[in-house]
């Protein structure tokens, strides 16, 4: 059968660009094109300007080999009221014209007391994967980020080149259009279709962003990759592979304009996904992606499951030899692996089911036990310990494995019964949904390890730049936050962003209560301290100050708590925990003291259970180290208030008879969510705690001063 080639095949990117230039020259009589070797029959190093010199000979000029000269003339022509496109043969050579871009063209716009149009577009082929070597393969975009009046575009297979050039020239200020060489021979995408699986749409005003997604999943991204035009194919290849391997929906967003970057139109998509990577071919350090990540962290930090993942080429020159060039440049597999690590996919997940799985194979695999979601802070959990032997018979609800979250250990129970076959190994980091073990109906032959154990990966803390060879230790001068601190960071960042806090301080005299505590300690033979008195006093204030123990459901509704659950700060070896003292109003001081001691010992051994760290509806920050006047705490979202207690200090006072007396005092602070609590309420609340300390008899309830 004869294959009929029709004209419906999409044009190549180079053809689209060449056509765009022809149309522009048809329309714009004041348009000039300058560059090296542009004239026919050569038509430029990449033939993008083919046919132009024949049709518009007086406005298309081949120039001497001097980028400084070409860009100087181009800038001058633009300043004099013309529109100018300059082709720089390789983006690498733009370095020779950098002064003209930085100090002349971009400055001329605003150096005359009024805005002067400088419609200059510098086109340059960039990127590697062609074996052109260190000085003909670079992606210099990052060197042009952040220059006032200079706009950066990148050619993409989604965006029509004529529209891009039109907008760039109409800005009236200089622009650079980066054109990845590998794109030239690729086809344009059109009609909303990428391939059999992926579709795309354009979102946002102007040239907008191309949004590529698996058909029917426009609103359901698991991960979003921000990829400039040159990286589109590599990003899509990674998305396809991740879809096949893990069934995940990875979307690709491509802006026509790299800088300044208008992220507004894509924020809803990024928020919903919560996981974002920015990819680029430029080498590591001072990258465009780092700038994008900074903007996104500022805008949607609290919606992200983890930091934006910036992926770039290595910190290296670009070798000429193909196998070495591939090592250095960011490829589809690097994007795939980076996303997989960041998302925790593939860590213990089953491989996609074979299409013709036999019943026997299913029986051998058994019922999976998977990682449950244990909190909102962590993307992955660490397998801490197996609690039962491999091959053992498991009854329902038997706890089989312990997982470490960033703050606590949780024991995971089996839902069903069966012979245990472990899949995950101690020390592995697993994502929610990953397989921990299988429960088999029959004992596995020989009780051996799972012979079809899926491939698992250990998740490093912060995958970033493509690095050849094994992942190295963090470089000197870098500190990677541990899991506990990452959990703290997430909470305080959210609080800092979302809670408008007020802060009030009062001073309380504590001689009486300290003396009483000393007596009680002597009587009972066990130490009692100020912390337990404060915790109890705070808890007992709940009936009179119910809003202080609530949390905001929406802008105007506070969910009230049924009883006080007081979190207390415990930091004994550099890791901050806020375990919760439950219902302290019903408990004796000795009982509370035991609980606090228990917390301190657990903090030292990192032995908290998850339930001990959750459910607090107010918190107390304890800072007994000598000399601490006061600490201003950050309210722990979704709570509304946090009390802080400084160290006991001595101060001299003149009493009623005029005599100098020494008093011991502490400062009590209250940080409060000002949307719910006002300053006067805060003072009343603190006065209540102060009274409890200064007049311990006011601490209500018989159990208060009993010691067991």
């Amino acid at each position: 059968m004869t294959q009929v080639v029709t004209s419906t095949v999409a044009p190549r990117v180079a053809e689209n660009l060449n056509r765009a230039l022809h149309r522009l020259f048809d329309r714009e009589e004041q348009l000039y094109l300058l560059g090296e070797d542009l004239l026919d029959p050569y038509g430029g190093a990449f033939k993008i300007t083919k046919g132009l010199s024949g049709r518009f000979g007086d406005r298309v000029m081949s120039t001497p080999l001097s980028e400084g000269g070409i860009l100087g003339v181009g800038g001058g022509l633009a300043l004099c009221g013309n529109k100018v496109i300059v082709e720089v043969m390789f983006g690498d050579f733009l370095a020779l014209g950098f002064d003209q871009v930085l100090n002349f063209a971009s400055k001329s716009v605003s150096m005359y007391g009024r805005r002067v149009p400088v419609p200059l577009v510098v086109r340059c082929p960039v990127g590697g994967n062609r074996g052109y070597g260190p000085t003909h393969s670079q992606s210099p975009q990052k060197h042009f980020v952040g220059i006032p009046n200079l706009t950066l575009y990148e050619l993409s297979p989604f965006h029509d080149a004529e529209a891009v050039l039109d907008e760039a020239l109409d800005r009236g200020a200089p622009a650079v259009l980066f054109e990845d060489k590998v794109l030239y021979t690729r086809r344009m995408y059109r009609d909303g279709r990428v391939d059999d699986v992926f579709r795309y749409r354009v979102i946002g005003p102007g040239l907008g962003w191309a949004h590529a997604f698996p058909d029917g999943e426009a609103d359901g991204a698991d991960f979003v990759v921000l990829a400039p035009g040159g990286l589109v194919h590599r990003a899509l290849d990674a998305a396809r592979e991740l879809r096949e391997a893990h069934g995940r929906s990875v979307h690709v967003l491509t802006p026509a304009q790299l800088y300044p970057l208008d992220v507004e139109p894509v924020l809803p998509l990024l928020r919903a996904a919560g996981r974002v990577a920015v990819v680029e071919e430029g080498t590591a350090g001072g990258t465009w992606g780092a700038e994008v990540a900074r903007v996104l962290h500022e805008r949607i930090w609290s919606s992200l499951h983890g930091p934006v993942l910036p992926l770039s080429s290595c910190d290296s020159i670009i070798p000429t030899a193909g196998h070495l060039e591939r090592e250095v440049l960011l490829g589809a597999e690097d994007i795939r692996d980076g996303i997989r690590r960041a998302a925790g996919w593939g860590a213990g997940e089953p491989s996609p089911a074979p299409s013709a799985a036999s019943p026997a194979a299913e029986a051998a695999v058994g019922v999976p036990v998977t990682v449950p979601k244990l909190n909102n802070n962590d993307v992955t959990y660490l397998v801490a310990d197996w609690l039962v032997d491999d091959g053992a018979w498991i009854e329902p609800d038997t706890e089989i494995v312990a997982l470490d979250t960033s703050k606590a250990q949780a024991d995971i129970a089996a839902q069903g019964s069966g012979y245990l076959r472990r899949v995950a190994a101690v020390g592995e980091e697993l994502a929610v949904g990953a397989v921990l073990a299988h429960l088999l109906p029959e004992p596995a032959p020989g009780g051996a390890r799972d012979p079809v154990r899926p491939h698992t990966e250990v998740v490093p803390a912060a995958p970033a730049t493509k690095a050849p060879g094994p992942v190295a230790d963090p470089p000197f001068g870098v500190h990677v936050l541990d899991r506990v601190q990452q959990g703290t960071a997430a909470v305080v960042t959210k609080s800092h962003r979302e809670i408008p806090t007020g802060f009030t301080v009062v001073k309380a005299e504590v001689d009486t209560v300290l003396d009483r505590l000393e007596e009680l300690s002597e009587e009972s033979g066990a130490t009692l301290g100020l912390a337990e008195v404060v915790v109890k006093a705070v808890a007992e204030a709940q009936p009179d100050f119910p809003r202080f123990f609530g949390s905001l459901i929406d802008d105007r509704t506070v969910a009230m708590a049924d009883a006080p659950y007081v979190g207390v700060t415990v930091d004994v070896d550099g890791s901050l925990y806020v375990p919760v003292v439950e219902r302290a109003h019903e408990r004796s001081l000795a009982d509370i003291a035991d609980t606090l001691m228990d917390f301190r010992l657990k903090a030292l051994d990192k032995g908290f259970a998850a339930h001990e760290l959750t459910g607090g509806n107010i918190a107390v920050s304890l800072n007994p180290d000598p000399g601490v006047v006061l600490v201003q705490p950050i309210v722990l979202w979704p709570q509304l208030c946090m009390v802080s207690v400084g160290a006991v200090g001595d101060e001299c006072r003149i009493d009623a008879s005029g005599a100098v007396v020494t008093r011991r005092t502490v400062h009590l602070g209250l940080a409060y969510d000002h949307r719910v609590v006002n300053g006067r309420d805060a003072v009343l609340f603190l006065a209540r705690i102060k009274t409890a300390l200064e007049d311990p008899g006011k601490l209500e309830g018989e159990p208060a001063w009993t010691t067991d």
């Binding site: 004994v572 003291a593 001691m597 301190r600 010992l601 051994d605 007994p624």
Partner: protein, 76 residues
């Protein structure tokens, strides 16, 4: 196995000669509530004991710690 005095001296960062049965939070400024927790934790690890929070609160000197060890069948 370290002697009790040695263990306490290590945590407090003082010469072992300065530690005797009277040493405790009341006599030694460096014996803060944080150091107390570290001493208890080190004691548990060194001698393989599981010390309850109440026992931890009841130890107010090295002599008390020695009593605790004796009650658990450890001589140190």
């Amino acid at each position: 196995m370290r002697a009790l005095e040695e263990l306490v001296a290590d945590v407090l960062g003082v010469p072992v000669a300065e530690v005797d049965d009277e040493t405790g939070p009341a006599t030694t400024g460096g014996w803060t509530s944080l150091r107390h927790v570290q001493i208890i934790s080190a004691l548990g690890r060194e001698y393989g004991l599981r010390i309850t929070p109440r026992q931890a609160r009841s130890c107010r000197s090295v002599g008390d710690l020695r009593g605790l060890l004796a009650a658990e069948g450890v001589s140190a």
